[in-house]
Amino acid sequence: MKKMTLFLFVFSLFFLVKPEKNMAAENLQAIIDSMKEGAVLKLENKTYEGNIVITKSMTIIGANKTVIKGDGTGNVISVKAPHVKLSHLTVTHGSMNRNSAEEYAAIKIYSDNNVIEHIKIRHSFHGIYLSKAHHNIIRYNEIKGMGKGEIAAQGNGIHVFYANDNLLSNNTVDGTRDGMFFDYANNNKSYDNNITNTRYGLHYMYSDENIFKRNVFTMNTGGAAVMNSNHLKLENNQFIINYGNQSFGLLLLQANDNYINNNTFYMNQRGLYIDQATRNTILNNKIIQNQIGIELWASSNDQTFTLNQISENTIPAVTLGGKGENNSWSKNGKGNNWGSTFPLTDLNQDGIGDFPITYHSSLHQLIEDQELTNLFLKSPAITIYEKINATLKDDEVMFKDSYPLTTAKGKHSSIIYLAIGLAVMLILIKGRHQLCIIFGRNGRKT
């Protein structure tokens, strides 16, 4: 009996101690320190305890379920040596402390030429933080935050601070403060990232000459906010359902000489929101089904809008706070395609409307003075409001497109309209009585 009790006691110790966890906790930093420069460390399918600091060039590769768990007091992984490669890890539990001098992250990089890929990040203030780190590659990472609405208590998915020439590609960021935040960071490239449920999907401050292509921003408070940044290239990005009273697809604030080409702005509160920005070129974009297609504030000058498709927006474009100077709605004789917003003829079939179009709106003053106006933008009443105010001459010219593009018309749409028209006519002429019969009298005619 005594032996049996002793056996059970010893056996139960195995359950309590969890030896593999503690061994790993003691060892990961020691293992890293013991490795040679340029070595490759393959981690097993288990949880290693951080925090760790990497001070020599090396490669750390995890397996499917390798987790590096921080102790919640600082950065989980600090990379202080160049040419470090981290891949296939889950990194979690960084410090969320906002009173410290340093802003912590799951992975903080202080050096150049590193590769961070296939990393999952959870429960940390910032996800990946590049601090004065250049020529790094950050790709295929998945960063999840605390969800939309939590602004102050959490950091950004990828935070780029005084860091140049980095490549950020194929990352997925969900529910952090800003998806990717660039602060004094130049010449970076962001390709194919997918950012949802953040405050601003992409946030540029004082960062010039950056390129971002093929990124998708959905359901953020703001898709991309470009502030005080110049000479950026934005191509083939999608800004979709960024809804809310303050929301926008793309904000250009004090941003100059940017090139915005071939992007899609779909179902946003405002497709493009331009304030105090100059000399931006906006071409070939699809600005569709937004509540306001383009909101242009008076302090914005010298923008060029050409070859864009701006259709099915409640208000195609609005200029607020007066008129900016030299904003041009066409270039080299090519304007924009306004879809069915404006009736247009093209008798000489050159793809350009026969007469210029001018958009008047009375709403600009209301939008400017009263923020609650935004709540009415989906209401059909807006159309009537505009029509009535047009007759009262309360409206102002919002823009003039001298060379509007005409749509290549699909034949089927006109056939559908014709069919609907005929059906309505038939009901009105022959079927008034029938309408009553359909809804009452059990379908009987007498």
């Binding site: 405050r199 923020e371 809804f439 009452g440």
Partner: protein, 265 residues
């Protein structure tokens, strides 16, 4: 139960319910086909918003017609008089009739949206919570307008009156209500914004939309100004419930006070 059975039999013999349901089915399917190009993970939300924006044109007017003509039919066929002379008074008749109407219209509607979910499963990544909110939004909207329809049916004397009232109610909520508020908008201040928001959310279309968009997490209310915070003085779901209770009460009240037992052609 008798009323539900009676309502069901009357409606499946008639064309109104079938016409309404087939319109909804055709619309939902055509929007699904149009949305197949959307992305797998977020396309679901876009589809639901577009679907709602389309259905909002049809469900109110169809429900108004179904509700109004269902009551009026009782007058035309003299069944109302028969029922009232037996054991029912008008309020109890109206309650039972309304329950019958809800069951007959909403059960097939909910049934269809359940089937529709199966179709969506092949195309998009589903978010069941959002979908339930969407269905709840549609059902509540249908409920409010069915009851308004029942009120119209109660106080109308002829079919032409029904058509006239129905189109007016639809036009009012679709255009006039917001239009009137738009003209008051410049005078809205922090002091009177609560009153303004109460009137704004009296429009079922607005309160249902706000409930749907915030419930699905599409509409973000971050960084609200003081004015907007005062405007949203309670949660969208309470605005919607308040709206529901208000319009059900008003519709019942109007129907009971102004009901006319006789109808003529």
């Amino acid at each position: 139960m008798h009323y539900i059975w009676k309502e069901w039999k009357e409606n499946i013999r008639g064309k109104g319910l079938w016409l309404s349901l087939s319109i909804i089915v055709i619309l939902t399917i055509s929007i699904l086909f149009r949305s197949t190009a959307l992305s797998f993970d977020k396309g679901f939300y876009i589809l639901l918003i577009n679907l709602f924006d389309t259905l909002i044109y049809f469900i109110p007017i169809l429900c108004l017609f179904i509700g109004a003509f269902s009551i009026f039919q009782e007058k035309e066929q003299k069944t109302l008089i028969m029922l009232l002379t037996k054991k029912d008074n008008y309020p109890s008749f109206l309650v039972k009739k309304s329950l019958g109407l809800y069951t007959v219209v909403l059960v097939p509607l909910i049934g269809w949206f359940f089937l529709y979910l199966l179709l969506l499963k092949f195309t998009f990544q589903l978010d069941i919570k959002s979908y339930l909110i969407f269905v709840a939004a549609i059902v509540l909207m249908a409920l409010i307008f069915l009851q308004m329809g029942a009120a119209i049916g109660s106080f109308s004397r002829s079919r032409m009156q029904i058509i006239g009232y129905t189109i007016f109610v639809w036009f009012y909520f679709f255009f006039l209500h917001d239009f009137i508020l738009l003209s008051f908008l410049p005078d809205v201040t922090y002091e009177n914004v609560k009153l303004f928001s109460s009137v704004y959310f009296l429009n079922p279309l607005q309160s249902v939309r706000m409930y749907l968009e915030t419930g699905m997490g599409v509409y973000s209310f971050g960084h609200m100004s003081r004015l907007l915070q005062a405007f949203m003085w309670t949660k969208p779901v309470f605005f919607l419930l308040g709206n529901l209770i208000f319009w059900l009460a008003v519709s019942f009240g109007t129907a009971i006070v102004f009901n006319r037992k006789e109808g003529y052609e």
